[in-house]
């Protein structure tokens, strides 16, 4: 049990969320079924050691996660390059349970690793999953992490990602969210060492009554650090999405660069998307920008394609897939990318799986 209270929408970070609908006490503890695909060379990097949990919980969900989580720890040795991606799949078919997963990635100096973490649940699994991801990239380490939410339409997710980069490290944090009933992710990168860089890229697409909720933080705590965020989403039917993002440049983070772009397509009159970008800059001599848009498909683009004789529904599909391609093209070139493009396409056509 946690001594912390459930948050409410009165707290800024939970504003617009559906936290008020959650009856945490109604869920009994459950387990995710976790499968790890890694080449034999990569196997030795993977363990379930719980000694890796270090950071303080910011709220009840992180606190409960620290107490109950099924831990997957991935540790790379100095200079180790893990050639093949490590693919972790968590699945849940039960209703009425809450399950906690914890992934800790400890990338030691000048090592390189790519991890894909998929979350899958059956269509009717009325359950809650609380995934927490900690990425720690030591000097010059290169970490690529991809989270894929393919949860069923009844499952809730309240998730956390924190990636901390030391000197000259590179972290690439990707998220593809297609599933879930209410699926939330708080995604933070913290650049602690000079010259560290991070990229955060996400694709999210909600239809019917789904809601996707993202809170991002780009925290620059050292000079010459670089962060770039691109989040693109779409909402259809009566779906909702929220993006709120903060760029924080601390006083010592001079000559840093931080960019943040959030674009949202509203594909139906009943769909709703909110985008709230924020900047908090405590020093001069930095380069920062943020851009955010919410709106329907560009009329000019639609007219252009229709003027070639393309049917309106196909024109719309081309434009939306084109919109998402900017994200899909940045994902590591792995076989699942083509599958995800198909999923987006299917969702767009409204064919229920």
């Amino acid at each position: 049990m946690s001594t912390l209270a459930l948050p409410t929408v009165d707290e800024e970070i939970w504003r617009y969320s559906r936290i008020g609908e959650l009856d945490l006490a109604s869920f009994k503890p459950g387990k995710l079924s976790t499968k790890i695909d890694a080449s034999s060379a990569a196997q030795q990097s993977v363990s379930s050691s719980t000694s890796v949990l270090a950071r303080e919980a910011t709220d009840i969900f992180e606190d409960l996660n620290a107490q109950h989580a099924q831990v997957t720890a991935i540790t790379t040795a100095k200079n180790q390059v893990v050639a093949e991606p490590i693919v972790i799949t968590h699945s849940l078919d039960e209703s009425g349970v809450v399950a906690y997963s914890r992934l800790v990635v400890e990338a030691n100096e000048n090592s390189e690793v790519t991890i894909v973490e998929r979350f899958v649940s059956s269509k009717n699994a009325k359950s809650l999953i609380v995934p927490v991801v900690d990425v720690r990239a030591a000097q010059s380490a290169r970490v690529t992490y991809v989270a894929i939410n393919e949860l069923g339409a009844s499952t809730w997710q309240i998730g956390y990602q924190q990636a901390v980069g030391q000197r000259d490290s590179t972290m690439q944090m990707y998220t593809v969210a297609l599933g879930g009933d209410y699926a939330r992710m708080r995604a933070e990168v913290r650049l602690e060492g000079q010259g560290a860089s991070a990229q955060q890229v996400a694709l999210y697409f909600a239809d019917e009554d789904q809601m996707h909720d993202f809170r991002t933080l780009q925290d620059h705590a050292a000079p010459r650090t670089h962060s770039n965020l691109l989040f693109k989403g779409a909402v259809k039917d009566s779906a909702k999405s929220v993006y709120t993002g903060l760029i924080r440049i601390r006083e010592n983070a001079t000559k840093s660069e931080a960019f943040q772009t959030n674009r949202n397509l509203t594909l139906s009159n009943g769909a709703w998307a909110e985008s709230v970008p924020n900047l908090e800059i405590e020093t001069n001599d930095v380069k920062c920008s943020h851009a955010s848009t919410v709106g329907p498909i560009d009329e000019e683009q639609r007219f252009y394609l229709e003027s070639r004789g393309i049917r309106p529904e196909i024109a719309e599909r081309l434009v939306v897939l084109g919109f998402f391609d900017e994200v899909l093209n940045r994902l590591p070139a792995l076989p699942f990318v083509g599958v995800l493009r198909e999923r987006v396409s299917t969702k767009l056509l409204g064919t229920k799986s």
Binding site: E306, S307, R308, G309, R311, L318
Partner: protein, 247 residues
């Protein structure tokens, strides 16, 4: 050559945009193989004419009719006007992020129930013919293209889709001399090879070196005020539009 003759008949067309009446009374008949130039000063309503013919949102037809071989174009949505045989080359072609030319043309041919199996080679042939960099075929439509590349791309699409009547809205704006020559020549060739009928909307006559008009019409204040043969374009080159603005 005149076997499958198509006729685009524009009668007393009147169009408003917002609260402004832009076109008052435009009557034109364009047949297969003919090149009609509509020339006029800035603000005469030239671009409104092309937008209204294609059914662009925001352009409201307040009077008149547009028929393609007797079919009421104004009753059809944009895409069906295109599949019926109208094609618009835009003055400022829109950038479509993430959408490849191949995919757009494939969808356009599907709507016409035309075979797409040789599309890639067809695009390659047409691209080569007007010196459109074939690398650009695999990039998103118009994204980061120069003015000349955009118009070459538009012309490739025209050749692939093989419409009956093409509307060229200020083909010469924003492109270099070489691109203008290549694009205008390709359309001129199409009037013979495909028996294409052409409505060229332009301020200047410089593209007529390749694309020879059979008829020239002067549009001012939303009306066609004079129609004549190609000699009218030569006259305009010397005297300008001032003489027609008061009529």
């Amino acid at each position: 050559m005149a076997k499958n003759t198509t006729t685009l008949e524009i009668k007393n067309l009147a169009v408003s945009v917002g609260s402004s009446q832009i076109l008052n009374d435009v009557t034109l008949t364009i047949k297969s193989g003919e090149v009609h130039a509509v020339m006029g000063p800035n603000g005469a309503g030239k671009s409104t004419l092309s937008a209204a013919l294609m059914g662009k949102p925001g352009y409201v037809v307040t009077g008149g009719s547009v028929k393609l071989d007797g079919i009421d174009m104004l009753a059809l949505p944009t895409w069906q006007r295109a599949t019926a045989g109208l094609h618009l080359i835009m003055q400022y072609p829109t950038e479509i992020p993430g959408v490849m030319l191949q995919d757009a043309m494939s969808a356009a041919l599907d709507a016409r129930e035309r075979d797409t199996s040789n599309l890639r080679s067809l695009i390659a042939t047409e691209a080569k013919r007007i010196s459109f960099d074939t690398e650009l075929v695999d990039r998103a439509v118009n994204v980061d293209f120069s003015g000349g590349e955009k118009k070459r791309n538009e012309t490739v699409q025209l050749a692939v889709l093989q419409p009956k009547i093409a509307i060229l809205d200020e083909l010469d704006s924003g492109l270099d001399i070489d691109a203008l020559r290549d694009c205008a020549q390709r359309v001129e060739d199409a009037t013979r090879e495909m028996n294409l009928g052409v409505l060229v909307i332009t301020h200047y006559s410089r593209l007529f070196e390749q694309l020879k008009p059979d008829f020239v019409h002067i549009l001012t204040n939303g009306r066609i005020v004079k129609s004549a043969g190609p000699e009218l374009a030569d006259e305009l080159e010397v005297t300008g539009y001032a003489a027609y603005s008061d009529k």
